[in-house]
Each structure stands twice: as structure tokens, then as C-alpha cells.
Amino acid sequence: MRVSYEWLNTMVDLPADPHTLVAEFVRTGTEVESMEDTGAALKNVVTGHVLEAVPHPDSDHMKVCKVDVGAKNVDADGNPVPLQIVCGAPNMRTGINVPVAMIGAVLPGDFKITRAKKRGVESCGMCCSGRELGLDGDHSGILELPEGTEPGQDFAQWAGIGDVILDCEMTPNRPDCLSMVGIATEVSAIFDEDTHIEHPQVREEVGPDAHDLVSVRIDDPEMCARYTARVVRNVKIGPSPEWLAKRVSAAGSRPINNVVDVTNYVMYLTGQPLHAFDLGKLSEVDGRRSIVVRAARDGETIQTLDGQERQLTPDTCLITDNGERPVALAGVMGGENSKIDEGTVDVLLESAVFQKGHISRTSRGLDLMSEASIRFERQVDPEGCALVADIAAALFEECCGAEVCPGTVDVYPGKAAPQAIRLRPERVRAVCGADIADELQLRYLTRLGCTVEPTFQAEHRGRKVDAYLVTPPSFRPDLTREADLVEEVLRLFGMAEVPSTIPGAANHIGGLTVDQRRMRLIDATMRACGLSETLNYVYCDHRDLARLGMSEEGRGIPVQLMNPLVADQSEMRRTLIPGLLRSVAYNKDHGVADVTLYEMGRVLFGKKGKQLPQEETYLAGVLSGASGVQEWNVRPHELDFFDAKGIVEQLLETLRITKVKFKPADPARYGWLQPGRAAELMTRDGQVLGWVGNIHPRALKAFGIDDAVVAFELPVARLLKLATDQLPFQDIPTLPGVAVDLAIVVDESVTAELMAQRLTSAGGKLLTSVHLADIYRDEQRVGVGKKSMTWNLVYRAADHTLTSDEVEKAHNKLVTKVCKSTGGEVRA
């Protein structure tokens, strides 16, 4: 809403400095998007009187002029000195009055006026045409000001074009502020002062009564709360008077003609959109021009006055003339067949209120937003319709030379009795936390247009308190409850005035839950393992699983968007891996070879026949490239399966999850992993706890990645369920252990897990530690298909220092047993 300061000032007294009003608007909840000083462009433009204009010695069309600008140009003693200006305008001559842009002026189009020499003659300013001042398109010569215009006046002030326009953004609950009257009321409440709004009145009503000329019927009262119509005759269409054109332009509309401008002006003034029909173009029914308001029928069309053919639905409210022919899209746009044109003589003036939901859907559906639809969709006050029709009629009389017929046809099916609200000032104080006196509260509300009935007693928090009955004005549909009045009082009182307090914590405790703390621990562990966190889109491409080679089994059905923005974000993800692979590809494409990322985020599994999907949090990581850059003392290694596995193992240890086995992943079920370099995590009770492995080269290719990527993905809920804070404490051994290394050659098929198992069980009680120190392969020395594993074993007894005999005995037994059970041989 564009608010003209000058216009508003005629309705309520404003502070001299517009910034004061802007600050008050911001304080009380009216957002001011911008403040535009329309006179600013004409700063340093003054009225001037041409004392002389003689031909330029070196030009056949330019003249050298002496222009009196009064006190705007003075000598050292303060005496006025005329300016010398070189001017090429054909109408320049001695004696005329002109606008003068002095040095320092910046005309529209960023045209800076500077001291200049024109063919050797100094020129100290410029006499301006209408176009140069941005007033009109006239550039045939300089603008001549009326005779007797005093030189040396500020031109914008002289021309009355100096105004400040505030562009105010209104919240959707304040339809009243989409009008100058509403804004003036708001200002009167802010500054606690009276408005002085005088509406024009019809001077003389002539001719037949409107009821004899027009009939109005509302077939769908749910769509139209009130319809009033007045008739004006013998309209003389022409340009608007200057004041009207100026106000309409200030409000943001281009002046068109007096009829259109009056309807726009009244809308900006009152917030009530009007529509003018050419009375003569409406069909007659029983000798009267007919208006029937009804819902459109399926398939019905109307040609709106912008020439477009519009397809309608039964949700659209339509104005028809005999009940059949559509003549306007109610509240949105008029019809081509009934519009005002050069030949219009008589006008039917519609001032009506249409239901906001229909208007909102119609204007959106047809992509037809207008000043009218914006107001209707926020709700227009039906109580005001008739008064607004009168104002418009009076202006038709004044500005269009029209004769106003007596009578207003008024159909008002939606009339509602005003609802009074019980206000307990004590409640206001209790909700605001501020000591706002009763009188002050009531004064704010009265200034906003509410009526207040005297006190009575009501209950508040077990006490009797004073209460009032407050009836809000009909133009404030947002005020229906005590809470709404609290807001009005608080915003006028000032939120800044409320003392800041913090609620006491006498009755509650808070903090993170155990699971929330453990999720932070997971984050910390990932970081400690060198992975950086990323947050990917939860949206995914519906082809992601297929690209990856991941089966849908166990992942439900996708959660599908009905209205996706882009095709590759049409579903919600069921695995974190595609998003992470895209990040890997992004990094590689941008020259970052080493990528170590993790994400802890949600995946969604839909279920057929079930409304809500299952939402789970997964943890996934990807590693690709080297373990770091080469340093003078650090040799990085290529990140491989064991880096990823090590991170998973570290995480399990941190969460104190024990006895998880890493089993070779079945290629039939893990199609996205490279066979032989992939493991499934299995808990003690046979639950799958996720996987770790190399992403299959085929899948990598599908995501545009050439390098190897190792990854893991674990369901967080299952991790949290298995996690414990601390394992039982084990006493630190005080007696020395005996370390023995065992190098044993076995077949490649013997796994590390199997070996460790056999060693542990063969070692008996005395074997307290089994650690794989090395694996060595050499066809000649070890044999084909064989490997040599070196194990560090520690023997220790809890109650005495072991003798070498005891150790030797235990170790020999272990070697014999292990070799037998694994087919291994001790390597010399």
C-alpha cells in the first residue's frame, strides 16, 4: 500500500518529519518497505524569470539568457544575481517564466547539471522542458510557467509535486490498512489524536430512483455478503481534475479518465473496490437493468476487459445481467461486454462485498491479481458499502459532471450483528507482563474505533477483576477475541516498554536425552576419525536405487512428492549413499581428490496401504582418495576397505557395542558393493547392523566417479539400542605378562577371524591377548595360496608370575592345537 504523506496529512495531523511516522509505524507493526521523496528529483530546480535572451555569438539557434532566480543565487553581500544560461529552446525569449535547474541539480535519468561552456559562453544551469523534469513527455520547448510566477521558489513546492510516499507492507490480518481511512485511524491511535476526515456529499439528486432503473439479486449469498448499486447519468468522460489525477498517481495507479480514476480513488480512500458498468450495455429484465450474482457454471467463459477469454469453475463468483450473460468476474475484473468507453452515458456503480476465499482462488487460478482482488481476499467491510457508494456518486457528480439518481439498491444477505468482546485489563497485563493502566488500554481501543461499555466484574485466575465489553468496528474483522485486543494494546503500548524477564525453572528440568547425547558422541567419533559432516537433500532421484544397484527389499516403497519442483527430486531418499556419492563426484569434479565425508540423516520408507511412512536416522560415510596430503614427515596411503572398517570398529567401541561380526556380504543382496570387499555387520543375536565396503565400480560409474570409494551405512536407532555407557571395569594387571610371537603359515582361505578364534580357544586361561601383527606373502618362501600371519600373544596369570616352563607348556599346546585345526605350520 502506497501512502501519500500529503494526502494522509489532510486526514490526520502528521509529524513534520516523515521519519518520525515511519519509526512509529515500525514500532506498532506496520512495515515500511521504502520511503520515496517525489520532490527529491527536483531538488535545486527553482522558478526563474528570463530578464533577457540574446542570440549566441557563435550559434544560429542558441540564446544567451540572464535568468532571475531571486534569492537562490546571491553575491557576497546577499544581493540576488541573475544566472547566465545558454539555452537552445525555440520558445526561449525575454519575459517568460521558466523552471531552472541550477548547478547541483540531478534531474530524472541521473542527469547532473554542472557549470559548462557552450561554444565558448559560460552556462550556469539549464532551463527545463516538461520531459526533462519528468513531468510529462513534452520536449518541444521549455516549460513556460504562468505570468506573475515569483522567481526563486522551490519548483517542486511551487508545483505541489513534493510529496513523500511510504510503501507500507500490510500483514494479511489488517485489511483495514489497505485504505487511507484505515491508515489515518491507525495514525490517530498511535499519536492519540483525532482524525478529520470529510467525505464529499452528493449536492443534488435528480431523475428516477435507482430502484426503478436497476434490480439486484444474489443467488449465492455465501459468495456475496452485500451488493449496493447507485446510478449516475449523463457522465462526461474526460481527463480527471488535477487533484484527482495526482492522488491516484500517488497511490500507484496511472490516471486514465475521470470515471476510472474516481473508482480507483475511492478504493484507495476507503479500501472498498468499486466497479462501474455501462448501464446501457446491461440487459433489461422487466424494464430494469438487471444484476444477478451467482456462481459460475462448469465450462462457462467470460471475456474480461483486458480482452482475455477466461475459463470459469463453479468456485468463481460471477456478475451476470439477466442471470445468464456474465458481465463481470466479481471482485476481480469487469467484462468486456459491459465496460465503460467513450460512448458511455449512464453508469451503474457497484459497491459490493464478495467472499474472500472465492476471490482468492479465482484470482490465483486465473493469475489475475488486482488492487481489488487483493482487498477482497483479505476481507472488505460490508457495513461500509453504501457509504462508499455515496462518496463515489458525489465524486461522479463533481468530477464527471454526472447527475446522481436518488436511491441505493441494497441487497445485504450477510449482515451480522457486531460481537462484543469481554476485556479484562488484568488479563492484558498478565499476558504482556507490563503494567498498562485500564484507562490507557481503553483509550487505545477507542482510538482504533472500538466502542467500550462500562465496567463489570469477571473472573481471572481465581480473582474478581474489572472487565469491559468492547465492540470492535466492522472494519476490523481480525478482532474477535480477548487475545486479539491484547495484541492491539501491546503493540500501541510498545513491545520495547515491556520489561524482559526469564521464566523461573521451579517446576521442570530439561536437557538432552541419553540417545541425543549418544548421537552427539557419534558425531564426535566421526570427526575424530577424520570424516567431515555434510547435510544432503532428503529429496532424491527416483532412479537412485537402480543406479546404485541397491534392491528395494527392506526399504519399503518410496515417499513420492505429488508436486515436485524438479524431476530429480521427486522422492524422499531411502539410503544416504547416493547423496554422498554426488558429493564425492562434486569434489572430484572440482579438483578435490581426497574426500572423507559422513552424514547422519533421515531416510523414509513408505508402506503400501499405510498413510505415514517409517522415518529412520541412518549414519553413512564415504572415503575416497588418500588419507591426507603428503607431508615432509607423513606418507599418506590410499583409503581402502580397512579405513572404513576401522572407523566402524572405532564407533562400535565408542558406543561400547561388543560382539559384532563382520561377515562377507552376499553379492546377491549387496549389489551396490564390490564382491570380496564388502562386509555385513551382524550382532550377536543375528541382527544386521549395516554394512561396510567398496562401492561397486558399476555404481560409481553411474554416479560419474572414476576412483575407488569405500563406504558404510548403519541404522542409528539400532546402534543406540545396543549402546551402553560403560562396560564393567576390569582391574589393571599387576603381574608381568610374557609376550610370545607366533608366525604361522596357513591357506589364504583361513580368515583372520577364524585364526583369532582358534588361538583364543587353544590358549586357555593363561592367554590374555591375541593380536595380529603382520601378514606376509611370498610364493617362494611361504608358498602359493598361502600366507604367513604373525601373532603377538601375551600369557599372564592373575595370581602369580609365570615361569618359563609354564609359558612354554601352554604355548606348545597352543601351537599344536592351532596347527591341527587350521592346517597351519609354524614358520621358522
Binding site: R27, T171, N173, G357, R361, G365, A430, V431, C432, G433, A434, R481, A483, V486, E487, L490, R491, M495, V498, S500, T501, I502, P503, H508, I509, G510, G511, L512, D523, R527, G530, L531, S532, E533, T534, L535, N536, Y537, Y539, V559, Q560, L561, M562, N563, L565, Q569, M572, S583, Y586, V592, D594, T596, R602, G606, G609, K610, Q611, L612, W632, N633
Partner: protein, 362 residues
């Protein structure tokens, strides 16, 4: 007495040898040569037997004195030499300390998560709990229970992602990018705000309620420098007896200072939200110009960061809470907005690409 002379000679020679010993090994050689089992001094002492009864105590005393002095000299020289050797070793051990250190590879937390955890830490310190709810929710929890009118534009398919309802057969799929203004095309949606979590929480818990719900929300905004179709909100809710607008202010003043710095001021502007009444927007003073006005704050001196208000009585009643007895406040802040303000990010899309060069800066 020859033996006395011998002792003197031994002592003199030992003293000279000790003083001249260049290292611990040489010194040890001297020790062995003088006081060792076959050392010169030891042999002298061994020869004591041949002395007369009278001479023996005299010579014995002298010999012990000599031994004591020699041993003391050995110890002293040993300490001296050890210090010298340590010094030499240290000198040889010196490195160029300007060479880069051997750093363990440590990962970084995503800056959005960091901001959310900061907020969690602030509010848990005030006794709040942290909640999160479902991404896919019903229109009831996302809109209706929050007092959003049935025809509110935010319900349109242009502002909300609707989701196929697998319990229904008549789901309609729109072509990507062909959004309409039609309202409520499904009962299921991707939450557009975390406020629904507050409703779930109020249904499950009686007051007093002190909770925040940081989480991801979804809206059909095309990704560009200033928008993402998915972003993160931190919303909070307090419902208790006697909660005032002053409590809202005090809490958010402290929160703002915790997030942006002690010196930052706040400004409360009345505003409109369907689920709060009264409602306000909260600005924080610009950190660049400190309220003077600059291009960062569009010359206002203030940066908008929060929406807040007293919980609308309708919302409380929708959740079965007596709105006469209980009052409350709610607020919401965008984590991306905080990030953008803190770090002056030129493009929000950096937050979702997983660019290591970006992530490792935080």
C-alpha cells in the same frame, strides 16, 4: 714409607686422569684402573697386610681418605661429563620448529548442525528439552492445529510439497515444476515448519512445557543463492502458568546474545502469524555497522532473525490445554539465516554440495 708415597702418587695420577677424562667411558676406565678390583689403589690396600701393626691404622686411614677423594672426584667429573653429554645430545637433537607438525586428520562438523547444537545447548541450560518430529505429516499438524485458515495461501501446492498417501488410491501426480495454487491436494505433506512438532508435543505432554525443536523443513523454493528447497529451523515453545510477553523478550534477548554476541541489541516489531497472538518479529542490531546503517543491513541498522509471539489460545485449546490457565510463547529462527548472517555466505547452495573446501572451514 714407600706405601704412603705410592698412595700420593696414585691420588695425583688419578686426579690428573679424572680431570683429563674426555667422556664417561674414559672416566670409567680410570675408575677401574684405580678403584676397580685390580685397580692401583685396591692393590695398595691389598698390600696392607705386609705393614706393621703400628703402620697399618695410619696407612689405612690415609688410604681410605685417598679412596674417598678419588671417588668424589670421579663422581664430580661424572656429573660434569653427563651434563656435557646431555647438552651435546640436545644440541644434536634440535629441529626446525617452523616445519609443519604431524596433525591427526580430524573432521569438521557441518556449520548448520553446529548452530543447531549451540541453540540446543543454550536452551537445555534453561531447562528445555529437545524434540524432533516426522518429516511427513498431515495437514492437521502442519496447518490446521496451528490456526492456519483453510484457504491460507501457504497451503497451496506452490508453497507446500504434498505427498502421495499410500492408504488412498486416487493420488494425483503433477508433472515436475507444474505447481498450482490449488490448496490441500493431499492430506499428507512434507512439513513446511517444525511447528507441528510443538503440536505433537503438546498433545503428548501436559504443561509445564519448555521445549525446542530444531529440524529440517521443506518448501517448493527453487535452489538459488538465497533459497533452498530444504532448510533448518529452530523453533521453541513454552507453556506454563503465568508466562508473559516479557518472558518471551527476556528469553530471546539472552538467546540472541548467546548466538550473536553480548553487544548485540534486539528490537521487537509487532507482526502477524496465525499461531501466535500477539506476534512479533525480532531484529538483532547489525554486527557490521552496530546499528548505524550499512549495506549489509540495507541501511536500517537491524537484521531480521526471529518470528515469535504468545501462543494463540486456539492452538492451546486444539491441543487440549486450558488457555485461560496457561499461557505460553513460541518462536522460530532459521539456522541458514543465522549462518548467512554470521559468515556472510554468498550462496546458500554451498551448504548442500558437500564441498570439502567449504566444510573444512567450520
Amino acid at each position: 714409607m714407600a706405601i704412603v708415597d705410592d698412595l700420593k702418587t696414585i691420588e695425583e695420577e688419578a686426579a690428573a686422569g679424572i680431570a683429563g677424562a674426555a667422556d664417561l667411558a674414559q672416566l670409567d676406565q680410570i675408575r677401574v684402573a684405580v678403584t676397580g678390583k685390580k685397580g692401583s689403589l685396591t692393590s695398595v690396600l691389598r698390600g696392607m697386610g705386609q705393614l706393621s701393626k703400628e703402620e697399618r691404622p695410619v696407612v689405612g686411614k690415609l688410604a681410605n681418605e685417598v679412596r674417598g677423594r678419588v671417588e668424589a672426584a670421579l663422581e664430580a667429573r661424572k656429573a660434569e661429563l653427563a651434563a656435557l653429554e646431555l647438552e651435546a645430545k640436545i644440541a644434536a637433537d634440535a629441529v626446525d620448529v617452523t616445519l609443519p607438525g604431524r596433525r591427526p586428520a580430524v573432521g569438521h562438523q557441518h556449520l548448520i548442525k553446529e548452530i543447531m547444537q549451540e541453540a540446543e545447548d543454550f536452551f537445555t541450560g534453561l531447562g528445555y528439552v529437545v524434540e524432533d518430529g516426522p518429516y511427513v505429516d498431515t495437514t492437521y499438524y502442519n496447518f490446521t492445529a496451528l490456526n492456519a485458515p483453510e484457504d491460507h495461501p501457504s497451503r497451496s501446492a506452490r508453497d507446500t510439497f504434498y505427498v502421495v498417501d499410500p492408504s488412498k488410491d486416487d493420488n494425483e501426480l503433477l508433472e515436475a515444476g507444474h505447481n498450482t495454487d490449488r490448496l490441500g491436494i493431499s492430506e499428507l505433506l512434507l512439513r513446511t515448519q517444525t511447528s507441528g512438532v510443538q503440536v505433537h508435543h503438546m498433545e503428548a505432554h501436559k504443561p509445564p512445557i519448555y521445549m525446542i525443536c530444531p529440524g529440517t523443513v521443506f518448501r517448493p523454493d527453487t535452489a538459488d543463492a538465497n533459497h533452498l528447497p530444504q532448510f533448518n529451523q529452530i523453533e521453541g515453545l513454552v507453556v506454563d502458568e503465568g508466562i508473559t510477553f516479557g518472558d518471551l523478550k527476556g528469553t530471546l534477548d539472552a538467546f540472541t546474545k548467546a548466538m550473536f554476541g553480548e553487544e548485540r541489541a534486539t528490537r521487537y516489531r509487532p507482526h502477524f502469524f496465525p499461531f501466535t497472538e500477539p506476534s512479533c518479529e525480532v531484529d538483532v542490531s547489525c554486527g557490521v555497522c552496530h546499528g548505524e546503517g550499512c549495506s549489509f543491513c540495507k541501511h536500517t541498522g537491524w537484521l531480521e532473525i526471529l518470528g515469535a509471539g504468545m501462543v494463540d489460545p486456539n492452538v492451546l485449546e486444539n491441543c487440549g490445554i486450558d488457555s485461560e490457565r496457561y499461557t505460553g510463547f513460541a518462536f522460530g529462527i532459521g539456522a541458514e539465516r543465522v549462518a548467512a548472517l554470521r559468515y556472510d555466505l554468498p550462496d546458500l547452495r554451498m551448504l548442500v554440495t558437500g564441498d570439502m573446501r567449504f566444510l573444512e572451514q567450520f
